[in-house]
Symmetry: C2
Subunit: 728 residues, 2 copies
């Protein structure tokens, strides 16, 4: 682990730039360096340079002065207000703004990063890591606050239950983007208690493939999805970041065809032809097809081989051959997956999105589809091909037999046994994915990077021993050591952590009915995961740029999709497997197919209904977030009323609804009528309205009409009384 404590508040360093100075390209690197420092200074950033690791410089950057910081904070908050992120506009006085609402570390770092990266015409230094003339800029990152990290990890490792304050700290240090992940993970972890309890009960009392468990999990997923949607909004309001996703960051890599003026605002807009983008997007279809073929044939090959070896084959070397399919999978899946993932990334880059968010969510979607295939295809194959159509795949197994014969040059038929469908297969797979895979994952995610980083650090220490470090000023030595260490670390990518959790959620909703204890495993795993992810950020990754976010972004629809699919697969698995348990010999009959479809249709529509009901019920409560929004709107409204109508009027208006009419006295009305009639010859309309002057006249005339009508109604008196004489 890195040394537990760094220098107090890192000497106010906001960012460290790791600048590569390869000796072969000395002149170019030097020119770039000069431009870099000039750019940074021009954007209002103070710099200090120190030697870095081998052939690297460390450039320390901070915002030049507190007053510049204040001004930048003011502008950022003003923009937030204009985008509807804040309900109140910042005070007109810049310094008062900062006083009223102190600047958090995350806010300062975010603003500093924008100053470094924004284009020059928007007042930034325009530095894009690794691109074009900045190709020697290898990293731009903030330094960890080691004291905080140390306390944080210590606290979390000695606590069973994390409370909200623990997560708020993350927000102040690493930004809302990371905080949302931890908050999501915590909510998910707590929600998992219910399926874990259900899973325990089910595995003791109901066994596998229990319809009760399937319904339970499906309802749980509906409630969790709707709960999180609300919670996400609440958090966004609480953190003051609602609608922050509407402030789109321009993607520096965006290539535009032409610049035009926005019809509405007259601002320059960079346009990339939508037709061109669509043409690239259409490539996703053959790509998806290729993925299905590649990953599908890999799965089918491995699984059918495995079935053949384990369940049909009884020839020689059976104990060794049993490992063959696993080896094929273990070797080929990561290779294929890497190729496909990078192809997806390339495709996504080609789609050339204008904003960081657009780019990111398109990439997440593509990666999710790939992950879906690699992770769930084996289980889907077992559930929907192997179990119902087990006997149909026998010809395929025949192929393996012939291959085996060719290879072994064995002309006599290989000894085989009769094939039987084993519904337990899906359980074993689930066991593998939940227990084995999670442990492997924990190791690769946490321990491997740590060991690697330690090894690199040791190697470098040995290599550079007695060279530069001794020349560091003693009071700076700790800071420089820390910066050099962190240059070697990987960037932290919250997307990977989300993906892991969402895929786990998918196993839970789609397949856990085959092994209800999976939810218990996930509960345990996530207890560790919460802490290990914290540890990962604190000790083996660079400090992330504290971006803001108002939701978990593209993962929310993904959760919805997995919940929906889960309702279908769970009930289908129950139907297929519990049926086959009692009747293992029969192939699927027509009546079963009919039942299966009815089952799926029914389960899916129960899911829709449950979703509708849960949504209705949840909407009938006012969440704290909505309440806070309403409060802010009310305060803004009262403030405005005070400004517009004066203090007293505002109090009256607030007390009795906004629309209080002015009282009209009879005297005023009559006066007005008289003025109108004396102003000249009266029109018919004026005459009409002046027949009865004021309230009392109307009352009297009305009474008179009533009496007259009564007289008309009684047959004794048919003659009409005269109407009161007109006055005009």
């Amino acid at each position: 682990m890195a040394s537990p404590k760094g220098p107090q508040d890192n000497f106010g360093v906001d960012y460290v730039i790791n600048y590569h100075t390869p000796s072969k390209e000395h002149a170019e690197a030097e020119a770039g360096y000069i431009e870099l420092i000039k750019g940074l200074t021009g954007a209002g950033l103070a710099t200090e340079v120190r030697p870095g690791n081998k052939e690297h410089l460390l450039i320390f950057v901070r915002i030049a002065s507190p007053s510049l910081l204040a001004q930048q904070v003011y502008r950022s908050r003003l923009q937030d207000w204009l985008h509807g992120v804040r309900s109140t506009s910042p005070a007109t006085d810049v310094s008062k703004t900062v006083e009223d609402e102190p600047v958090t570390e995350a806010e300062r770092l975010r603003i500093a990063y924008l100053m470094i990266t924004k284009p020059e015409n928007e007042g930034g230094a325009g530095i894009i890591q690794g691109a074009g003339k900045w190709k020697y800029v290898k990293a731009v990152f903030p330094l960890h606050n080691r004291q905080f990290n140390h306390d944080w990890i210590k606290k979390w490792n000695t606590k069973y239950s994390l409370d909200l304050a623990d997560l708020e700290e993350i927000r102040d240090k690493f930004g809302e983007n990371v905080a949302f992940y931890f908050f999501f993970l915590r909510s998910y972890f707590r929600f998992l208690l219910a399926p874990a309890a259900l899973g325990l009960a089910a595995s003791f009392f109901l066994g596998q493939f229990s319809m009760v468990y399937a319904i339970g999990i499906s309802l749980w997923s509906v409630v969790f999805f709707e709960y999180w949607k609300k919670k996400e909004l609440d958090l966004a309001v609480k953190w003051g970041v609602r609608h922050v996703s509407s402030i789109q960051r321009a993607r520096p890599e965006f290539r535009w065809d032409f610049e035009t003026e926005d019809e509405v605002t007259g601002e320059p807009v960079r346009v990339y032809s939508p037709a061109k983008r669509l043409r690239t997007q259409v490539l996703q279809i053959p790509f998806a097809f290729a993925c299905v073929v590649a990953l599908g044939s890999l799965s089918v090959t491995a699984i059918s081989l495995e079935i053949f070896i384990n369940q049909v084959y009884t020839g020689p070397f059976k104990q060794y051959l049993g490992f063959l399919p696993t080896i094929i999978l273990v070797v080929c899946t990561p290779i294929l997956s890497t190729i496909l993932m990078s192809t997806a990334k390339m495709l996504n880059d080609q789609e050339n999105y204008a904003t960081v968010d657009g780019h990111q969510s398109a990439l997440v979607r593509k990666h999710f589809v790939l992950n879906f295939m690699t992770s769930y295809m084996p289980l889907l194959f077992t559930a929907f091909v192997y179990i119902p159509f087990g006997h149909v795949i026998v010809p395929l197994l025949e192929f393996w037999r012939r291959t085996a014969q060719t290879i072994t040059f064995n002309k006599v038929p290989l000894p085989t046994q009769e094939f039987k469908i084993n519904p337990e297969r899906i359980t074993n797979q689930m066991y593998y994915f939940t227990v084995t895979a999670q442990i492997v994952n924990l190791v690769t995610e946490l321990i491997v990077p740590y060991v690697k980083q330690q090894a690199v650090a040791k190697a470098r220490e040995f290599q550079t021993k007695g060279q530069k470090n001794d020349l560091d000023h003693p009071e700076e030595a700790a800071l420089l050591k820390q910066a050099r260490e962190e240059c070697e670390m990987d960037e932290y990518n919250v997307t990977d952590d989300y993906r892991e959790m969402i895929m786990q959620y998918g196993y839970l909703t789609l397949f856990s009915v085959a092994w209800p204890l999976a939810s218990v495993c996930f509960l345990v795993n996530n207890f560790v995961e919460l802490r290990s992810d914290a540890m990962k950020i604190a000790t083996s990754a660079r400090r992330p740029i504290p971006w803001r976010a108002d939701s978990i972004g593209p993962w929310l629809p993904t959760i919805g999709l997995l919940s929906w699919l889960g309702s279908v697969t769970s009930s289908a698995i129950v139907f297929l497997c519990s049926r086959d348990k009692t009747n293992t010999d029969s192939t699927i009959s027509q009546i079963t197919a009919w039942g299966l479809l009815l089952n799926i249709v029914f389960a899916e529509h129960v899911y829709f209904l449950a979703q509708y009901v849960v949504r209705m019920v949840m909407d009938s409560f006012e969440s704290p977030g909505r309440q806070q929004e309403r409060k802010e709107r009310f305060q803004m409204k009262r403030q405005h009323l005070q400004d517009t109508l004066g203090q007293d009027a505002a109090e009256i208006a607030a007390a009795s609804g906004i629309e209080t009419s002015e009282k009209i006295t009879r005297a005023a009305l009559e006066e007005e009528a008289r003025q109108a009639s004396s102003a000249g010859h009266a029109s018919p309309a004026e005459t009409f309205w002046q027949r009865q002057r004021g309230m009392q006249d109307t009352i009297d005339v009305g009474k008179h009409h009533m009496e007259q009508q009564q007289r008309n109604a009684s047959p004794s008196c048919t003659e009409a009384a005269p109407t009161p004489s007109p006055r005009a």
Copy 2:
């Protein structure tokens, strides 16, 4: 028809109150009358009274003065702004507000109505038609502008295609609520061209039960639904009424349990226990069950009897007995429907919603469910019971045979023929519903009220001949005649018109695959409907209160639901009926059930996919409404920037994005550093940042480090050069 032209601008009358003065309750009516006039005057309304129809008074009401109107308009617009309906706050000067944006007739009438009906503590007169002490107030309505109506109807009746300006006029006269209906009807009418063309083509080339037509209609419904969602928003933005539904009108009939203070705003809130409401809402479940039983058994009785008589029975009186089921249906359906509808209304009143919108949409939902049952049940029965399970219902027909025998005392078996399923049945039903029902509907909707109204007017004219009307002032006679006529008219309820169109939409999406020409009929019908609905408002209904609306309200989800269901029923009908055409003898086999379910699952998911794709494509275009919103936000933003940062700064900021940094000169930076160091003993952090003073120092030191690293890298020179001496 009423006389074509009324007095010019109705003498400025805003509202007419029709006040009942029954001679038996003379004292009470008189006291109420006095209170009424006092209340109106207190709220700032001028009144004139005239004799009305028999035992009624006509009270003419207008806002007392232009300045009061201006003030009320100002307050209303201010409230709109605070609710986010307008993006710009009205000018602080009241009279300028009205000058900048003239008050339309609809706006004035809406405000006047609020002044009449708002509770007294909010500055209104608190008059609720027919309730409590206002039980003699029979109607509060604005007078028609007969000149406008006359021109409107004339124009529409001589035009084939209605353009936007025609509809905008409706908005100015009758408010957005009515305008939205006409706009929806126009859009729906135009969209119908596609299914009508498809239907024509299908009936010529493909025949009934064509899968191509089913897919076409399903896709069309997806596109129409998504299009209307966008269009609705665009219109709301264009008319400046977006988010207007968030300004909730309190429902005067609301009964509250207790008053409490709002936690957030401190305003008094009237609370009705949600548990109590839920208890009432739960009653909907047995109610729905009762409806299904009542309407279902009626349908089943009539249909089975009809099938028995037409297709099995061959005994005596067959030609007369054939009418029996129709008579049963025609007599019983309206009776049952009326009972159920009023029960639903009663239930809804019991649910005691606090706002008009909440009440209205709950009622619409209930009525829709009832309409769904009465309208679609016969067709659903035919499609999903009669056709697939025709032979299963033979025992039921046996019951009719026995009943017939009992009644006719005929002991010999009745002569019957063998029962055959006739898929054309659904076509005949569709024909009945589209052609016959639409014509009947047109007659009851337009001609009956007109005749009734004319008859009543003639009768009254005859009755009151020579009595009061001669006493009217000659210049007022036309106005008073008009007001008396309009007192006799029905209130216009836009909900009924919506319901008719939505039910038609349902026939189209759910069943038109059985008779593709239905869409052509609907097209023709709606051409007439657009004009006849206009005629209905103009000539046979009271002028509606011009409420605002920002959408078609609860009908939007209903359209979505019908489109969804349509995808399922259409494909199912195609599957069932085209199969049975070739194979009329067989009852449904297992393989057909399997196929049917697969068909339904497939169709439904194709629908979901199409919806997703259409939504994606539509979202990628910026609609005019969104563009206008963006424009308003931009202008507001520029305005604010001008106010905050001054004219020049705003221009610069607007030209180059909002965040322009201040440029930091090197001199300023150095000066600051010097000041910091001279201010006392420097901390390690201060020392760190002062080692390199300004840009040039950093550049020089960096260059030095680079050279040194290069020397280190080259093996010939291993000794390190000294770092530049620190300056602090």
